[in-house]
Symmetry: C2
Subunit: 472 residues, 2 copies
């Protein structure tokens, strides 16, 4: 078998060395065209390196045209590479195949949108998938309607009634591969002349997606009661996208008065709609539930939207929306030609997961876990009050607001980063930063992705960072 | 348990009868609010009807607010339904839950885009899925990059090299939940001020999707060599969407001269691109392969696109595109924030399916099967030549053109429909029907969805329809 000595200069990557050796031998003709290269596993064993090293070297050689792969057969030296000229379309890659984990990822990410993958009820999910695969073969091969398979829409309607007190006709539900995709469908439904209003501060992806579809956005202020309906009325927007149950990043729950004012705004003119993004309402950890706007909507102006990327796992790409009757008719007329983007297997599996009570159990378990995680983090953060830290809006969802007096927020973020803790100041979520941000530094703290055992250490480092940032 | 006698008037559906009984009893108070209804299975057994009958009745009662379902608990009578008024948001459904198969579906659909679900290698696919579920748990829980998981992109690059002679950098591949979704991504990539050109006649969904995203389309004529590049140059379009290997519906393969002219058109100005939609190139049944346009593209102006909805199954929603280097950079910059729309499970399963040689085997098997199906249909159609039928463009893809002299095409389609055979005249695929359609009626005949044993019968009925349409 091919053997190279890969002891490189310090700092030189192994795969890069291996790649260089192989390229030279191919160019010189030492490795003739058509030669079969060793399998990745055997080569790695022989050279005493990891399989990933060989994989990266091979990937780079493939992308530059020096070698090619044949399924089930292996890797072979390409023809016509012997004069040092790779084929026309080959090129020098700045980077080899992407590494498995981004380098320099923070140890403790308190500003991510990920949930802890350990929480996913993997075995139950896999068991249901196996059951669907063996019992529902015919269902799996039947094209789903644009809105999704019937079984899932029925399960979702039941779930919404039981958990949110909403009566939704299953036929008005549209299932899609993530909320990002559904936002795009809504732009198509309303047309890109429609003006969208989003919250400022807010979840920045929203406006990126709307603007990416050619729609224009207005950025409206949020106060302690939620989105300003006055600003909305003045903005000229037709559709407003909000998360009344739990605003990101401030954590505000919209007041009843504001909800009613918002519904009145929508009813005041035709073609005004509200998108109620209920992205983490499953995680009300304490306090009383607020009914969804959709339940108060007598005029058919509220589009309800939710996702399983937070409540189950970010790699389960299933979201859904419930449209008012008239909009559903419009959807079928204009967009009913689309195929549903979620595979039938995932749809039927989720339907069983809900119908057989696993989702309810999972949510109960998660609420307990997240409450524990939150409490551990709060306790460690607020231990002794000599730093004067304060927290707000802790009752719902998977983040709260941390208020740190007497510190500059970007400096604190930098000091935390140096300790492996990622926090992003509230100011970064503003499109138009407010004139005065107040005397305190404020950070939304997302704890869903934090491992249970890390809460104490993350808090300790963050407190250290506060001291350093203050020059103590 | 509740018992009703469901012997209805002739023509009255059982579920409708059951629905009526339950509604009456709820309105009259015979079934009190909160009463638990029998489980679907037990009720069905008791009444001697199918579970679907009970399901449909319950679904309609749910959608009208008379009853509600709780996961794992069952169906219950709603509150406040006793005076005959369903709740505010309930409504009379014109139809109950949709039937399993659309009524009046043709027996032999020769104009569908479906493939025969029987062909899907279900057991192999399910076996691989089970393996991925048990062996790649960590991979399944890791967020994929916007373009898709690395394993699948590597497998696709290998496949493209082996089957289409294309060298594609795996990092320039973008995986998405169906080509429909990818078209939408391209509109976002180029912006909706971009003018699109599509083929006329053509696959009508294309322009619907582009226009649905706010882009404008030009419809360009196709002759025996493919799309008219002259018309393209005059149209002012920036991006042209074609299927050079096998045009739908005419079946034309684009000539070499036309391919080169097309590439020159793209190179003549910045920001001109060609989308090469290779949707059924796997099914070249005879004749020599034409290289993909992408392989001739020295200037980075061709976007290659393909799908597994035809080559595997319409319910496997996985498609992909390979972008030229510069466009991939733009994709990452502008659209890299999107989550990949295909679940990791399906991505890893497909990667194994390709890597372990199953896809190649499957395609070989399919080509043999489709060739047999095509030949059986051709033989039965052309048996005795007294009808003067002619076929064209039979070598590639999953449809051919049928030319029927001395008959009016819409009349023939109607006569065929009366015999349970669905054919759609070529004229129906035109945006701008040509001034003179020629003396013959022409139909693209899609045979992929036809069951093997049905070819003879479908042909016999179609020939009968020709005789009737001619008044013979």
């Amino acid at each position: 078998m091919l053997t190279y000595t890969l002891e490189g200069l310090p700092g030189e990557k192994l795969y890069s060395k291996l790649y260089g050796f192989l390229k030279n031998d191919i160019q010189s003709g030492a490795l003739a065209a058509g030669t079969r290269l060793p399998s990745k596993r055997q080569f790695a064993e022989n050279l005493g390196v990891s399989v990933i090293t060989v994989e990266n070297a091979y990937a780079q050689l493939i992308s530059e045209g020096y070698i090619y792969a044949l399924p089930k057969r292996g890797y072979f030296v390409s023809h016509g590479q012997q004069n040092g000229r790779p084929a026309a379309c080959a090129r020098q890659l700045p980077q080899p195949a992407p590494a498995r984990e981004p380098a320099g990822a923070p140890l403790f990410d308190l500003a991510g949108s990920r949930t802890d993958p350990e929480n996913f009820p993997f075995s139950t999910w896999a068991k249901l998938m196996r059951a669907v695969l063996s019992e529902q073969r015919a269902d799996l091969m039947r094209n789903a309607p644009a809105g999704g398979v019937e079984a899932l829409r029925l399960a979702l309607a039941d779930h919404l009634l039981a958990f949110r007190g909403m009566r939704v006709d299953p036929e008005n539900i549209v299932v899609g591969a993530g909320t990002e995709f559904l936002y795009g469908l809504l732009v198509q439904l309303f047309g890109n002349k429609t003006v969208w209003a989003v919250e400022d501060p807010g979840y920045r992806k929203l406006s990126r997606i709307y603007e990416s579809h050619g729609a224009s956005c207005r950025f409206l202020p949020v106060d302690g009661e939620g989105l300003s309906v006055e600003a909305l009325a003045e903005s000229g927007a037709d559709v407003v996208h909000i998360s009344p149950a739990h605003h990101f990043p401030t954590g505000v729950t919209m007041s009843s008065a504001r909800r009613l004012a918002l519904l009145r705004w929508a009813e005041d003119a035709p073609e005004r709609f509200i998108i109620e993004d209920d992205y983490d309402s499953e995680f009300r950890l304490s306090g009383r539930p607020a009914p969804p706007l959709t339940a108060l909507d007598g005029a058919g102006r509220v589009i309800y939207m939710n996702t399983f990327t937070k409540s189950l796992a970010s790699t389960v790409r299933i979201s859904y929306m419930a449209l008012p009757e008239a909009l559903m008719r419009r959807f079928i007329e204009r967009l009913g030609f689309y195929a549903c983007t979620v595979p039938n297997l995932e749809q039927y599996t989720l339907a069983r997961f809900i119908d057989e009570g696993f989702f309810e159990k999972h949510l109960n378990r998660m609420r307990i876990r997240y409450r524990k995680k939150r409490d551990a983090l709060l306790e460690a953060l607020l231990a002794n009050d000599e730093l004067g830290l304060k927290v707000e809006n802790i009752h719902s969802g998977l983040h709260f607001l941390l208020r740190v007096p007497r510190v500059e927020e970007t400096r604190l973020a930098a000091c935390a980063a140096a300790r492996g803790v990622r926090i992003v100041p509230l100011g970064a979520y503003y499109r138009t930063p407010p004139a005065a941000t107040g005397p305190d530094a404020v950070f939304p703290v997302s704890y869903a992705g934090l491992r249970d055992e890390d809460a104490g250490e993350a808090a300790r480092r963050l407190r250290e960072a506060v001291r350093e940032a203050r020059g103590e």
